[in-house]
Structures are given as C-alpha cells and as structure tokens.
C-alpha cells in the first residue's frame, strides 16, 4: 500500500549531528530492549521466589506462560520497526 507521507524529501545529509541522531535512535531501540527485558527478568524472578517459598508456583508459571510471550512479541514488533526503518536508511 503506497503512502504519500514523508513529503518526498530524500536529501538527508550525513553529518556530525546526523551521527548523534543515529546514536540516539539506536539508544531508543536499546532502551526498549532493556525495558522489556527487565520486565521479563522480573517475571522470572517472581517465579523463582514463588518456587522457593512454595507459594503456589503453578499460578506464577501459568501467568508467565502467557505474559512473557506477549512481552516478547511486543519487543519483537518494536525491534522489527526500528531495524526495518533504520537499516533501510543506511542503504541509501
């Protein structure tokens, strides 16, 4: 589905501020990975705690089985976009 957005302005320059911009963009991508990664780590920490204390680990595992894939999917979509857009630009 072609879209007219972007204004057809293709003349992007490669300059020093441009490099800062790119670094920040990859920084956002890394931040997303860190954020969602931390949430997944947190969920596994909760499973471990429940397991150690014998505090209904089945509930924790059951919920995590749904939650972790959801977070991974969200992360996957995010990275797909960052990767897809950023690398496309570098090919130009």
């Amino acid at each position: 589905m072609p879209s007219p957005s972007g204004g057809g302005d293709m003349r992007r320059l490669t300059s020093a501020p441009d490099r800062t911009v790119r670094a920040l963009q990859w920084g956002i991508a890394a931040g997303t990975v860190l954020f969602i990664g931390a949430i997944i780590l947190w969920i596994t920490h909760l499973i471990r705690t429940a397991w150690r204390l014998g505090d209904v680990p089945s509930a924790s595992i059951g919920i995590s089985l749904v939650a972790i894939p959801v977070f991974l999917t969200v992360l996957g979509v995010g990275l797909y976009v960052f990767w897809g857009l950023l690398t496309d630009r570098s090919e130009r």
Partner: protein
C-alpha cells in the same frame, strides 16, 4: 517540498508551530489543580492515610475508584483505533491518534492511583522484589505493564511518518523530531515494515486490553465479599471500560476540535458514528448491570441484600440512581435520534457517561466495604479535601499531558488523512466492488463446486 498536501493540512501543524494565550491559560489552570493534588499528596505522605476519609471498614475509597475508572478510560485507544483499523472503517482516520494518546496518558494516571492509595509508598519496590502471583494485584501489575508497553509502541509506530513531516517542516525541536522519525523517508520498504507492524500491534493490543480490565475486576471478584464475588465482573468491567473510553474520547475530540479549529477534520458524521457506538455500549452496559443486580436480588442472600439495599435505597441511593440516569437514561435520550444537533447531543451524552462511569466504579467499590458481613454497623464514607484534591489533580494531570502532547505532535494523524485522500478512496471503491455481485464482467474462472 512540492507536495500540495503540505498546505492542505497546515491546520494540523498549526498548534505545534504557534502557541497562543489560551494554551498558557489552560496550562496555568491545570497546574493549579495539579498543585492542589500535589499538596494533598504531600500531606498524606507526611501524616499518613488518616488525612483521607477512609476508615474501618471502608478501607478503599476514591483512590481505588479512580484506579478502576482511569484504567477503564484507557480502553478508548484499543477499541477505536485497533478495531476500527482492523475493520477498515475509513472514518477512523482523524480519530485513531487521539484514542491512542488517551490510552497511554491515562494508563500512567491510573497506575499512579495505586501509588497514591498505598499506605507505604516508600515500600513500593516491595511489589517488584517480593511480588507474588497469587495476588490479583500482581496480575494487574503485569497486565497493565503489558498494556502500557504495547500501547506506547502502538502510539509511536503510526506516529513515525508524522514525526518525519515535523522534522522536515517545523523549525523547532529539530533534534527531537530527527531522532524520533527513525530515519523515515517514506520508501516502499519502510512503508511495508510500518504497515505490517501496525497490523500486528492492532491485533495484539485487543486481547491485552481485554485482559487489563478483566484482571482489574478480579481484584474485587476474587474476594468472598458480597456483590463483589460475581462471575460476570470481568466482561462487565470491560464493557464499562470501553463505554467510558468512548465517552472520554468524544469529549477530548470536541475539546481539541474547538481549541485548534479542527472542524474540517472532525465532522458531525464522526460524532454521529461515535455516538451510535456510545449508544450501543450504553445498552450493553445496562444489560450487564441489569443481569448483575437481578441475580443478586432474586437470590436474596442476606449479606448481598444488605449491599443491594444500601445502593438501591440506602445511603448510596444518590450515587446508584445517579449512575442509572447518567449512564443509561441521558445517553439513550440523547443518542437515540442523532439526526439534528448531533454534536451537542453527543457531547451531553459523553459528559454524562464520564460522570456516570465514575459513579459506577464508586458504587462497586464502596457499598460492599461499608456493609460488612458481621454486625459491625454500616460504615459511611466521606472523602476529605485530600481525596478531592487527588481526583482533581489526576484529571488535570491527564489533561495537561494531553495538551502538552498536542504541542509536540499532531493530534490528528496527518499521513493517515493523506492516505485516505489518495489511496483510501480508490481502495474503498475496489473493496466495495468485491462485495457486489459481478454483473458487467463475465464470471471468473473460479471452478464451481457441485452441491
């Protein structure tokens, strides 16, 4: 910049480029309300929850009501944006962005209510360190963080082409826009990536949103308390959430339509469609409420009936009947015939529903607690200035977030409007043709299966 569309959608960029006096007045007013909330919060933090009207047995009051209410509002984003996107409803184009913004902003406010409610906010990190999945509160934490993450990405991805327009056109905040535009050039590959990501997110965000208000309802329905322990609470809360979400969305649309002169984009037809949606949700809400209360009444279990009568004719009757009027009577009267005075009627209905859904959350949370099973006597709850301050501050903070957002990013998706003009028209025509029996053309080579 040979694109003629650039000048056509100038109105959408105007609020970002220029800032009038109205903006400062609004921010000033909202800041005052937020200040009230902040002072209230500081007082509460310093002295303890005693400064509120909470007590034994009504240990949950305004804050939990606000939590349920604000999280409910967040469902505007999903329904309008995701469902309308998936169903290819063309009239969604000027609406989706606002719906998505509401979701993200209000989720922060809603999750914040829990912090306001805690007796020991300084120990908040205990939820992360020692959290246990047996508690429905942790289900909320997980579900809401999934929803927040997903809806932030779902807000951001469709904004990328617009940010690229800002990067190329607006003189201010060059670095911010350049970074956030993610090097968008509008190439075919980028568009493919973007559209695919939006499609995946639109599908993903719907079950997450449903899960959010379901587990919010579980905070109540997992207990043994009368009128809380109900199997329909999950869907009942989800319906109420979508209902209040649409109402809040309509109010926001009308506010920004007036403030930024978006009459050309948000037309009466949009409000008529949303009004019809609101009407359907009002009927659905009434159906659930009816089913919920009739089963309680017919069962006639003494403890349930204490709560029931407290709502029906007891101390909570103004709230209960107020809820019935504002959630059902007024919206139905306003929306049943939308031919004339569309906008006025839709606005009245939406404001009414916003109030009504808050009352509904209140009438679910408090009467159950104030009517304990054992003979303690009925607890009456009077909120103090602290709770009112938090309520006002929360609304103001939400409004402020929203206003600031509109100053940074277009509140209506520019590229989606353009796409509608240039691609949508043709696409709709083609799609429509595929719905119809093919008369002019000869039959396709599709092999006919004998029945």
């Amino acid at each position: 910049m040979a694109d003629p569309a650039d000048t056509r959608d100038a109105a959408l960029l105007a609020p970002i480029e220029r800032t009038g006096r109205g903006f400062y007045w609004t921010v000033g007013l909202l800041s005052l309300l937020i200040l009230w909330g902040a002072v209230a919060y500081w007082t509460q933090f310093d002295e303890g929850l005693g400064v509120t009207g909470l007590h034994q047995p009504v240990s949950w009051g305004f804050y939990v009501t606000n939590f349920v209410f604000f999280i409910g509002i967040s469902h505007a984003g999903t329904l309008i944006s995701a469902i309308l996107r998936l169903s290819k409803a063309e009239w969604r184009r000027p609406i989706t962005r606002m719906a998505e913004v509401i979701t993200v902003m209000v989720l922060f406010i809603g999750a914040g209510q829990i912090l306001v409610d805690l007796g020991r906010p300084d120990r908040m990190m205990n939820i992360i360190r020692y959290g246990r999945y047996q508690s429905p509160l942790l289900w909320d934490a997980t579900s809401i963080s999934a929803y927040l993450t997903a809806s932030m990405i779902y807000l951001y991805i469709p904004m990328i082409p617009d940010i690229a327009i800002l990067r190329d056109r607006v003189r201010k905040r060059k670095l911010l826009y350049s970074v956030l535009a993610m090097g968008w050039t509008g190439s075919e590959h980028q568009q493919k990536v973007l559209n695919r990501a939006i499609a995946i997110m639109a599908v993903l965000v719907i079950p997450i949103a449903v899960s959010v208000h379901t587990v919010v309802s579980f905070v109540f329905s997992m207990t043994l308390q009368p009128m809380w322990r109900s199997t329909i609470f999950g869907p009942y809360f989800v319906v109420g959430a979508i209902f209040s979400g649409i109402a809040a969305l309509i109010v926001a649309m009308l506010v920004f339509r007036k403030a930024y002169g978006l009459h050309g984009y948000l037309k009466p037809i949009h409000f008529r469609y949303l009004g019809q949606l609101l009407l359907v949700m009002s009927l659905l809400w009434f159906y659930f409420t009816f089913a919920e209360y009739l089963t309680a009444y017919y069962g006639n279990e003494p403890e349930e009936m204490h709560v029931f009568w407290a709502k029906f004719s007891g101390p909570f009757w103004p709230f209960f009947w107020g809820m019935a009027v504002t959630n059902f009577v007024i919206p139905v009267l306003c929306l049943v015939r939308l031919g004339r005075h569309t906008i006025g009627k839709v606005l009245t209905a939406s404001l009414s529903v916003t109030v009504g859904m808050w009352l509904e959350r209140f009438i679910i949370v408090v009467p159950t607690l104030s009517n304990p099973r054992l003979p303690f006597g009925e607890g009456i709850y009077f909120p103090t200035w602290v709770e009112w301050g938090e309520l006002a501050g929360s609304f103001a903070l939400f409004a402020l977030f929203f206003v600031l957002f509109t100053k940074l990013f277009p509140v209506i998706s520019i590229w989606e409007i353009r796409e509608g003009r240039e691609v949508g028209l043709k696409e709709v025509e083609e799609r429509l043709l595929t719905y119809l029996p093919e008369t002019a053309e000869p039959r396709h080579a599709e092999p006919e299966r004998g029945w």
